[in-house]
């Protein structure tokens, strides 16, 4: 199985971390992984993205033209990447932030009120974990327990007290897809 995804949003929303966490989880399950970030000035506030590919087989190119899943956390990302979703693929977007919604009929569209939910959880920084939960619900490419293991690896020990909050956010994100 191969999942070719792009995570896109404003710099600071945690889109690079989302892809990275998925990448670490992929390595733990001994899959092939490439994670290709945008690293320009957009990291300091414009629209940033990372292409993350997880596969059971060799990944020829880290740069791809179309995606199985587009995760869009801001309007420019929807505008730019909706047309790049493969036929039958998915676009998941933060419906709190996006006014002009995706309209294609040949893809699956998931509206997730991520930012609103983050506020409800009283921490706007967990937006990316909510959305990653939604992503994994749509694409169960790695096990959920593996995400927890990856979190432990990525977060410095002094932040491990935040893991339960992140888990709650992730689980909430999964439920938002179920509805």
């Amino acid at each position: 199985m191969t999942q070719e995804a792009i995570f896109s949003g404003f710099g600071g929303q945690g889109v690079l971390t989302m892809g990275m966490l998925l990448g670490y989880a992929g390595i733990i399950e001994d899959k092939e992984v490439t994670w290709m970030p945008s690293y320009g000035p957009e990291m300091r506030g414009g629209t940033a993205n990372c292409i993350t590919i997880i596969s059971d087989t060799y990944i020829s190119s880290p740069i791809i033209s179309t995606f199985d899943t587009v995760m869009a956390l801001n309007q420019p990302s929807v505008d730019k990447f909706e047309e790049k979703v493969k036929k039958g693929g998915n676009i998941i977007y933060d419906s709190t932030n996006i006014l002009t919604v995706p309209t294609r009929k040949d893809i699956n569209i998931y509206a997730v009120p991520g930012s609103e939910t983050a506020v409800r959880l009283k921490n706007s920084k967990v937006l990316n974990m909510i959305m990653l939960g939604s992503f994994l619900k749509v694409n169960p490419i790695v096990k959920i327990e593996t995400i927890w293991k990856a979190l432990e690896q990525v977060l410095p020990e002094r932040y491990h007290n935040l893991i339960p909050l992140n888990q709650e956010a992730f689980n909430t994100g999964m439920e938002l897809i179920a509805k």
């Binding site: 990448g23 992929g26 690293y39 880290p62 740069i63 179309t66």
Partner: protein, 353 residues
């Protein structure tokens, strides 16, 4: 071999350098490769006692490399395009003095100060000498994070075997992206040094002199002839390349580094549409794998060369092919990466319509 890790290209390069028993790194930060010196500053000295120094400029850094290479040490510097341009004088001196060292160019878009986005615009500079005089660097082109690691060790070994400065020519994307890597175990730093190293006059032999200044033209010509003999030897022994699906291929896509991987994806999509496409990927850019192009050029209908520049390696492809088949070029410049679909579309437009 250790366990598999997810690492950024630049960090994997830095880790590979430490593990290869590198004695010293001199460099100056520049995007998109500043993680190298950041990582080394954090990790290297504590672990192996390796010297890590931020020089006052790239010019200073390459001359520090010159000095420590003259002492027989395993040394490396890294930079990106504008910084590598500043190092050209030093590289010419190092080539003339026949000293081993490793230099990585994490290529960004130029000319000039350009952009920090990935590019392959420094192919000519890397493979045709770069500085003044008749010399070459051995040039390796990693196309993955794993090859950043493997070619670091290979680069040190080749540069020491031939006493020839060696370059890793990667691009910003390979430096910045993360992939799965397997690292080699820590190697010890050298405790014995070659018999040419300027480590103090030995009691029982002459002074050792390392220089690139030979005023007598007769002497200078002999030095040049020696260098050229060495380059012919390198061309004979050290060519490395990879071919994919070339057995039944009617067309060839070719590129190096990241470009080759995008070509491979485009080849896969093309095969799905029924086009018989193969890929040639040079792993050494100097020495260039002339023979494989020459051989396949007699069997295929055409070659599409794809690069992140205005067409540089394509000159070497054309020289190798000698007009046996049609060679066309597609590229993007200034930090834009061509996509696999774009390559396939252009292939169809150029060769099938």
């Amino acid at each position: 071999m250790g366990k598999k890790k997810l690492m950024k290209g630049n960090e994997a390069l830095a880790e590979a350098m430490i593990r290869a028993g590198c004695d010293a790194y001199f460099g100056y930060p520049i995007t998109p490769q500043s993680e190298v010196i950041e990582y080394l500053s954090r990790e290297a000295t504590n672990r192996t006692g390796m010297v890590v120094l931020q020089a006052e400029s790239e010019v200073a850094a390459i001359n520090m490399i010159y000095g420590s290479a003259a002492c027989g040490r395993r040394v490396m510097t890294t930079s990106s395009s504008p910084g590598i341009s500043l190092m050209q004088e030093g590289l010419s001196y190092i080539a003339a003095a026949e000293l081993p060292c490793l230099v990585a160019n994490i290529n960004r878009g130029g000319p000039g100060l350009g952009t920090i986005q990935p590019s392959q615009g420094d192919y000519f500079q890397a493979t045709k000498g770069g500085g003044h005089g008749d010399y070459h660097l051995i040039v390796l082109a990693p196309s993955s994070v794993q090859e950043m690691v493997d070619y670091t060790l290979l680069g040190f070994e080749l540069s020491e075997k031939y006493r020839c400065p060696t370059m890793l020519l990667a691009d910003g994307a390979i430096g910045q992206m993360m992939e799965k890597v397997e690292l080699y175990d820590q190697m010890p730093r050298k405790t014995e040094f070659p018999d040419w190293a300027t480590t103090g006059k030995p009691k029982n032999s002459d002074r050792r002199i390392i220089t690139s200044l030979f005023i007598q033209p007769e002497k200078m010509e002999q030095i040049n002839l020696g260098l050229q003999r060495k380059y012919r030897e390198i061309e004979k022994n050290e060519v490395r390349f990879q071919t994919i699906n070339t057995d039944d291929a009617e067309y060839i896509f070719t590129g190096f580094g990241l470009g080759a991987r995008i070509c491979t994806k485009a080849m896969e999509s093309g095969r799905a549409k029924g086009y018989k496409i193969g890929v040639i990927r040079p792993q050494t850019l100097y020495p260039f794998p002339v023979d494989i192009y020459s051989e396949l050029s007699k069997k295929v209908k055409g070659i599409l060369d794809v690069e992140m520049n205005a067409g540089q390696m394509v000159d070497d492809v054309r020289l190798a092919v000698k007009g046996n088949t049609r060679v066309e070029f597609y590229g993007r410049m200034g930090g834009i990466i061509p996509t696999p679909d774009e390559i396939l579309e252009n292939f169809e437009k150029i060769f099938l319509k």
